[in-house]
């Protein structure tokens, strides 16, 4: 790695960490209940009043921590998918992996919880599991349908789009059977919403996502080689199909867990890796850490905006992400030769 690039990497990482910290502090202050920075500080060190303590510790902090985790998770999932499919348009949302996870969660709530409003403590622990099962099922369907003596990246994307539509339709069938209130709740969640944020959810998801992300970092070199195309990777002594399956599993798990808490947020897995690649290049050792931080930053930004723009009405974070990324996405498409 040359020195210039390394310095740039360190600068970007520092900048992003700084941005996240600043945004974190701003986000703590803002909301339906405004808390002055000094009061936030007081509360954090344990000198605040009961109301501030409740708002900060029970409502805001867990939700913000979740936003950071989900943002990082989805961005990493997108980066891995783009690497193994060698297609810059791959994203767990576009491929149907998020929708598969969403479908499983809807099924779980419909059959076991009865209502979106009353998810039990056990439910909080089971939901990531169901989301994972849904995500894996979707990925398996995509993989099997796209398999034709090996996986052709283009086929993978096209089949993924089809699977996405299929699961989307299946979700609507169950949504229609819900009562109006749950229907609304489900609709909001499916468009991406960090719901039911509390420390229990954080305690379940944080370890899962924080274990998977370093594994992905460890796979950086493999992703670099896969990115050269199958023929080159084989020539370099890579067991391509095996590695691709492994990396797909990793991306699917990251997406599944993120969806369990954040609903169907699309575009984040597309945009974050793109921007990261633009600023540092395609070498995964450098590009993945930036992707993760960028994803975390973008989702926290989107959630903060969504909470405050039309307060007290909340805009689902997924919709804010879409509004923020759609122009970028169109710009990308226009630039494609």
């Amino acid at each position: 790695m040359n020195k210039e690039k390394r310095n740039r990497f360190i600068a970007i990482i520092t900048l992003l960490s700084l941005l996240i910290t600043v945004l974190f502090i701003i986000s703590l202050n803002m909301g339906v209940v405004r808390i002055a920075p000094l009061d936030v500080f007081k509360t954090l060190v344990g000198l605040g009043n009961d109301r501030d303590e409740l708002v900060l510790f029970d409502f805001r902090l867990p939700r913000m921590v979740l936003a950071l985790l989900i943002g990082a998770g989805l961005a990493m999932s997108g980066a891995i998918l783009q690497g193994v499919s060698k297609n810059d348009l791959a994203d767990p949302g576009i491929l149907g992996i998020n929708t598969g996870a969403g479908f499983a969660v809807i099924l779980f709530i419909y059959f076991f919880q009865g209502s979106m409003m009353a998810v039990s403590t056990l439910g909080i622990f089971l939901m990531p599991l169901f989301a994972l099962i849904g995500a894996v099922t979707a990925a398996l369907i995509i993989y099997v349908l796209a398999w034709k003596k090996g996986i052709d990246p283009i086929r993978l994307i096209l089949v993924g789009i089809g699977v996405n539509a299929g699961f989307g339709a299946a979700i609507i069938i169950f949504q229609l059977k819900m009562n109006p209130q749950d229907f609304m709740q489900a609709a909001v969640w499916l468009s991406g919403d960090i719901w039911g944020a509390n420390w229990k959810v954080v305690s379940v998801l944080a370890p899962l996502i924080l274990i998977l992300i370093p594994i992905a970092f460890y796979k950086s070199h493999m992703l670099n080689l896969m990115n050269l195309g199958d023929s080159v990777a084989v020539g370099l002594g890579i067991r391509v199909e095996r590695e691709r399956r492994l990396l797909l599993m990793l991306a699917v798990a990251l997406a599944g867990f993120s969806v369990a808490a954040g609903g169907g947020i699309t575009f984040l897995g597309l945009v974050a890796p793109h921007i990261a690649k633009k600023v540092i290049g395609p070498k995964h050792q450098l590009f993945l850490p930036i992707t993760a931080l960028l994803g975390a930053f973008l989702l926290l930004l989107a959630d903060t905006l969504g909470k405050n723009l039309l307060a007290p009405t909340e805009i689902p974070v997924g919709i804010v992400v879409a509004i923020l990324s759609a122009p970028y996405f169109i710009y990308l498409l226009m630039k494609v030769k």
């Binding site: 040359n2 210039e4 460890y218 950086s220 070199h221 493999m222 670099n224 080689l225 990115n227 050269l228 195309g229 199958d230 023929s231 080159v232 084989v234 020539g235 370099l236 002594g237 890579i238 067991r239 690649k277 633009k278 290049g281 395609p282 070498k283 050792q285």
Partner: protein
Amino acid sequence: MVSLSTEHLKIGYGDKTIVEDLNLNIQEGKITTIIGANGCGKSTILKTIARVHSARSGMVYLDGKKIHKVPTREIAKKMAVLPQSPDAPGGLTVYELISFGRSPHQNGFGRLSEQDHKVINWALEVTGLESFAHQAVDALSGGQRQRAWIAMAIAQETDLLLLDEPTTYLDMAHQLEILKLLEKLNREEGRTIVMVIHDLNHAARFSHHMVALRNGNIIREGSPIDVMTCTVLKDVFQIDAEIVVDPRTKKPVCLSYDLITAEQQVANVKKVV
């Protein structure tokens, strides 16, 4: 030195058989060129030897061992493969690309050792890309890009180099540049080179051994003098070729050619008249 051969190789796509029964013996330390018409199976054979495509039956032997019984990473230390028009991810620098050639010799994380850096710099030097080391591969010209890929393949430090149409899409000067580079690698380092190229004159000029294929079968193999003959070219390409000896290189050259079918038609017309 590493030997390479195939035994009763049968290859196909779907229900189409491309190669029926191929017995190929690659001479060590030599440049071998496979020639043949489009769709005759030359690229398919190279892909099968490179283990990108799997054979229906038969065997590829590398170093006397059945190729699919040896861990793929071990093979990558003996045989480097450059596929047809490879595509580098946008923004990847020449140095980074070449460094990937070191991966069969590395641990899983891809950290480059002192030795790796040495080899990468050597590959840059041999291919004349020193001044482009930190430029993006996709911003280079076609000839430079192809040299960068060859640099990656030679950084793999293998005795055997397989190249599928390394000169396609390049202009005349750049084609020659690539072939001279390969010739140099062969002469100075004794690397065995197997390649597919379309330009017959280049094939004749740069190879020690030529293999002419038709429908997956070897029509003739041997030195350029043996293979570059009117009969072989007629059999392989259905052309009527005029072969002379190049005064500069003393190698056979196809001076001019015509399609046989067209000529036969003319002959027929003459007969009628």
